[in-house]
Amino acid sequence: MGKQVDILQGTLDMLILKAVSLGPLHGYGILLRIQQVSKDALQIPQGSLYPALYRLEHRGWIAAEWGESENKRKAKYYRLTGAGRKQLKSERQEWKRLAVAIGDVLAAEPEEV
């Protein structure tokens, strides 16, 4: 397990959208998927996952339905909606610009300033 990073404010929504864009998932599954893809670098506080899910659902970016899980139990599955897909796209672009900008700032040499 590598070093864990705190999630930046506002990026949890984007990560959730990305996670469910690969296919419907229940809450715990979303948590696992993010940890797995980030190779456990990103640790999501479990308590804040559900408020985020409800918020995204309320905004219409993800939709939920009750289905049966792998072990025949009822579970609430979240999937990306059309609006969510658009939102994800714009958030990803935003993130890229931010990352480039921060990278530029950090790479600046003294004489360039």
């Binding site: 229940h26 408020p51 309320h58 579970a75 609430k76």
Partner: protein, 887 residues
């Protein structure tokens, strides 16, 4: 957006379902995590515990989820309301006091608003009422800014012919009693005269038949009438084939052309309508018409108003009106109620002030409560509650109080409306039903919530501004009262000031009423019965026929047992009289051809002064010798002499009352009180009067006068009223069975009714001022009682250290008196301004009447002193030793 609303609504309506889902979702999350942990070889018990700990508080997460879907506000609102209910139930005395105060104030507001709404606010009961307007003369400038709706015949013609943006009709804005004969009987009914197209302009189609045609609405046109639904049902049993049938109206056959629908509400009480037949001369030569217009489709008020103004300018100039006067379109609603506007608004303002005082009172109570709840507030703040949450919680309490008070107030208001209806003078002509309908209830509900916020906001803000440590540490162990007493003191001073304003207004109106009521009537109103007869009747179109009726009927009435004297007059004291222009022909003041004076004019039969016992001061009164052929004679009143012939011997002087006759003044009689139609506008005053013998009137002038006024038969008798009335009726029947009396009154009734509006105002404003005084007293009492309670320890120490009881009492009570003094001073200044608003309603007393101001000031201070020392009496029961031991 739609998705959000849907999810919010879904969440709001299914909160238990939502909670269940959240719980099962989070549970299954933790179970899965625990299973994963177990798979990594952790003990099941440990795994579950770890899963729960790492997840954190499910309750907090659930709350956040609810917040995320926008359920925070309604949830908290419901919780606040539940808590508020519990808090209020725990202090029943406070709650009862606040709700009772509010119930009185809001009840008064509800009742008055129902009248104000009916008179000034509710749209007229006609289609598209916002497109209906009155043509009004707008007076501007020095002290008089107002509207007058009465116009000349030529003005009506100008509007009719030149104002293309409007559909116009003209009417006579009163209704007159007339004789109506149908199906063998005669009765006295109310008739309004309206032009062709009047009902079309209002937007009312007759139920059956039609309204008047232009041909019927000109002199010499066919005699026709339109009936009200009620008359049609009562007299003709709703006969559908009534149109075309003949009835007798004003002594002539008339054809019924239409019946109005049941739901039609007439602007004046009327049983039937007849064509106005407007003209430029006679009636139309004076400003005796009112004009209503409806904007044609597509036209705007600005267009139509501009047109009316342009049409009016040359006319107003021609009639010698002030150059600033304009012809304008004002809403028909306003045109009909202009004369009631000011008294209504004053009443509304007064009742609003009472509510404000009530709110101040409750705010004071809340401040005192807040002081006692300091620890509760501090504890909640210390436990992490936000300031906003505290304020919200306290506002929920006050709004809940407001709503409870409002509900009780609506019930009181319902009683108030019933009482008002009984008290309301007929002169108010409130023709839209005064009732507690949904409009009034909605206004009451809004008022209740607004009141709750008004009296709750400041105490809530003040209470939440707390030093937690100090408040908790202090723990009520303060020696000399804890919190800053000034906000509450200022509130009390403020309510005293508002009370002064109301009391002064009431004082002025009551003094006005007392002044008018106390005026020497100038006649003896006891044992006199009066009844009117409409002589707007084709059979009484000549001087001879009218006087024959007078002579014969009076002769029969004099024969009745107990009758002392009988007369006919147009009009009576306390009524509005006919006024006329005249010229003085000789003596010190002679009017040139272009000059004229104005006076009230009465025609009377010889015994008039005897019936009313009006004293003769000089010369003689009329006798049978003053006949149609005798020299024209006049008797004038003292006020007439004072105004027009102050220093000459008036007997033998001559007047020209119109027509080319020289009328000699043969006598001077005492003044009587009259309703003024001109002059200073006082409701009652001794106006200049000229009396002429009925025998010396001619048919033409009688016909005109009788379209506006009905003469009154007056009988002085020592017998019972019932006996006299029956006798008068028999006497009339034996002379003319086709002529009905309007209804009988004693002269005392006439006198009582003449001041109905002033009485109504004085009683209502007086009652409201009484309520304000009570509230102010309660406010002061509460303040002092609270300070005694807060300072019990301090007072105990003082007494223990040797202070006397009177000293201690003074130290507690004097702030109350001092505050009242401040309030009275501030209130007197306010009242000085407010009384200026009353100057058109105040008579016989100056708006700045020192007596009223001083009496109100002293009275309020007296009440304040009583309200301050009463709670201070508790000091006498204080046992210093016990008080000190309590800590």
């Amino acid at each position: 957006m739609l998705a959000q609303v849907k999810s919010w609504w879904w969440a709001l309506t299914g909160q238990s379902r939502l909670s269940g889902e959240m719980a099962s979702e989070m549970d299954s999350h933790m179970e899965r995590y625990a299973a994963d942990l177990m798979a990594r070889g952790i003990e099941p018990g440990d795994a579950r515990r770890r899963a729960r700990i790492e997840f954190g508080s499910t309750a907090a997460a659930a709350e956040e989820c609810r917040e995320a879907v926008g359920l925070r506000w309604p949830n908290e609102f419901a919780r606040d309301l539940r808590y508020a209910t519990r808090v209020l139930r725990k202090s029943p005395t406070f709650t009862a006091a606040a709700v009772a105060t509010l119930a009185l104030c809001i009840g008064a507001n509800t009742a008055i608003f129902s009248v104000v709404d009916a008179v000034l606010l509710r749209p007229l009961p006609y289609p598209d009422p916002e497109r209906l307007f009155s043509v009004a003369r707008h007076f501007q400038g020095k002290g008089s800014d107002g509207y007058q709706m009465n116009l000349w015949g030529s003005a009506w013609e100008a509007v009719r012919d030149n104002a293309g943006y409007v559909d116009a009709a003209v009417f006579s804005d009163g209704s007159m009693g007339v004789n109506f004969g149908a199906a063998g009987g005669v009765e006295y009914v109310k008739q309004q005269r309206v032009s062709a197209g009047f009902f079309r302009v209002l937007g009312i189609a007759p139920l059956i038949g039609r309204e008047f045609s232009a041909d019927e609405d000109r002199n010499g046109g066919p005699a026709v009438t339109v009936l009200s639904y009620a008359l049609w049902k009562r007299v003709f049993r709703a006969d559908p084939s009534i149109v075309g049938q003949a009835v007798t109206l004003r002594g002539e056959p008339h054809t019924i052309v239409g019946v109005l629908p049941a739901q039609f509400q007439s602007i004046v009480p009327a049983d039937l309508w007849s064509p106005l037949r407007p003209s430029r001369s006679g009636e139309g030569g004076g400003s005796n018409y009112a004009v209503v217009v409806r904007l044609r489709s597509g036209a705007t008020w600005a267009q139509a108003n501009g047109q009316i103004e342009a049409v009016g300018a040359p006319l107003l100039h021609q009639y010698g009106q002030d150059p600033s006067t304009r012809l304008q379109l004002i809403s028909f609603q306003r045109g009909l109620t202009e004369y009631l506007r000011q008294p209504m608004l004053i009443l509304w303002a007064a009742v609003g002030l009472v509510l404000l005082i009530g709110c101040v009172n409750i705010a004071g109570l809340l401040l005192a409560r807040a002081a006692r709840r300091t620890r509760e507030m501090a504890t909640r703040l210390a436990l992490g509650s936000g300031r906003a949450a505290l304020i919200r919680q306290m506002l929920a309490e006050s709004v809940l109080l407001g709503l409870c008070g409002g509900a009780a107030g609506a019930a009181l208001g319902w009683l108030g409306v019933k009482a008002l209806k009984a008290l309301m003078p007929r002169s108010f002509n409130v023709w839209q039903a005064v009732e507690l309908d949904w409009r009034v209830l909605a206004a009451t509900a809004c008022l209740s919530i607004a009141a709750g916020i008004l009296f709750g906001l400041y105490p809530a803000l003040a209470a939440s501004r707390l030093e937690i440590r100090a408040a908790l540490g202090e723990a009520g162990r303060a020696v000399a009262g804890g919190r800053n007493p000034w906000p509450r003191r200022l509130l009390v001073a403020g309510e005293v000031a508002l009370g002064v304003v109301l009391l002064v207004a009431a004082g002025l109106l009551i003094r006005t009423f007392a002044h008018l009521e106390g005026l020497n009537p100038g006649f003896d109103s006891h044992n006199v019965i009066t009844a009117e007869i409409s002589l707007q009747d084709a059979r009484y179109a000549t001087g001879q026929s009218v006087n024959r009726l007078f002579e014969h009927s009076l002769a029969r009435m004099r024969e009745l047992p107990g009758v002392d004297s009988a007369a006919v007059a147009l009009s009576l004291p306390y009524e509005r009289a006919l006024n006329t222009e005249f010229q003085r022909l000789d003596g010190r003041h002679v009017d040139t051809a272009s000059e004229s004076q104005i006076t009230n004019l009465f025609y009377i039969t010889p015994e008039y002064f005897r019936v009313l016992r009006i004293p003769l001061l000089r010369g003689r009164v009329f006798s049978a010798a003053d006949s149609a052929t005798a020299a024209p004679a006049a008797v004038v009143s003292e006020a007439f002499v004072k105004m027009y012939m102050p220093d000459a011997d008036v007997l033998g002087r001559h007047l020209d009352l119109g027509g080319d006759e020289r009328r000699e003044i043969v006598g001077v009689v005492g003044d009587v009180q009259q309703k003024s139609g001109w002059g200073d506008g006082s409701p009652l005053s001794a106006m200049p009067d000229v009396y002429i013998p009925a025998a010396q009137t001619d048919g033409k002038s009688l016909q005109m006068v009788h379209t506006w006024f009905s003469p009154s038969w007056i009988v002085r008798s020592s017998g019972t009223a019932e006996g006299v009335i029956a006798g008068m009726q028999r006497a009339l029947e034996s002379v003319d069975p086709q002529l009905p009396f309007s209804g009988f009154h004693s002269m005392e009734d006439v006198r009582y009714r003449s001041l109905a509006q002033e009485r109504f105002q004085a009683v209502l404003i007086g009652a409201l001022a009484g309520l304000a005084l009570l509230l102010a007293a309660v406010g002061i009492y509460g303040l002092i009682a609270n300070s005694v309670a807060e300072r019990t320890r301090e007072l105990g120490i003082r007494l223990a250290l040797g202070a006397t009881v009177p000293q201690a009492m003074r130290s507690v009570a004097l702030p109350g008196v001092a505050l009242a003094l401040v309030g009275v001073a501030a209130g007197s200044v306010l009242a000085g301004f407010a009384s200026q608003l009353l100057r058109h309603l105040v008579w016989g007393v100056q708006p700045g009447d020192p007596l009223t101001f001083v009496a109100v000031g002293i009275g309020l201070l007296g009440v304040a002193a009583a309200a301050s020392f009463l709670p201070a009496l508790r000091v006498t029961r204080l046992n210093p030793a016990e008080t000190l031991r309590q800590e």
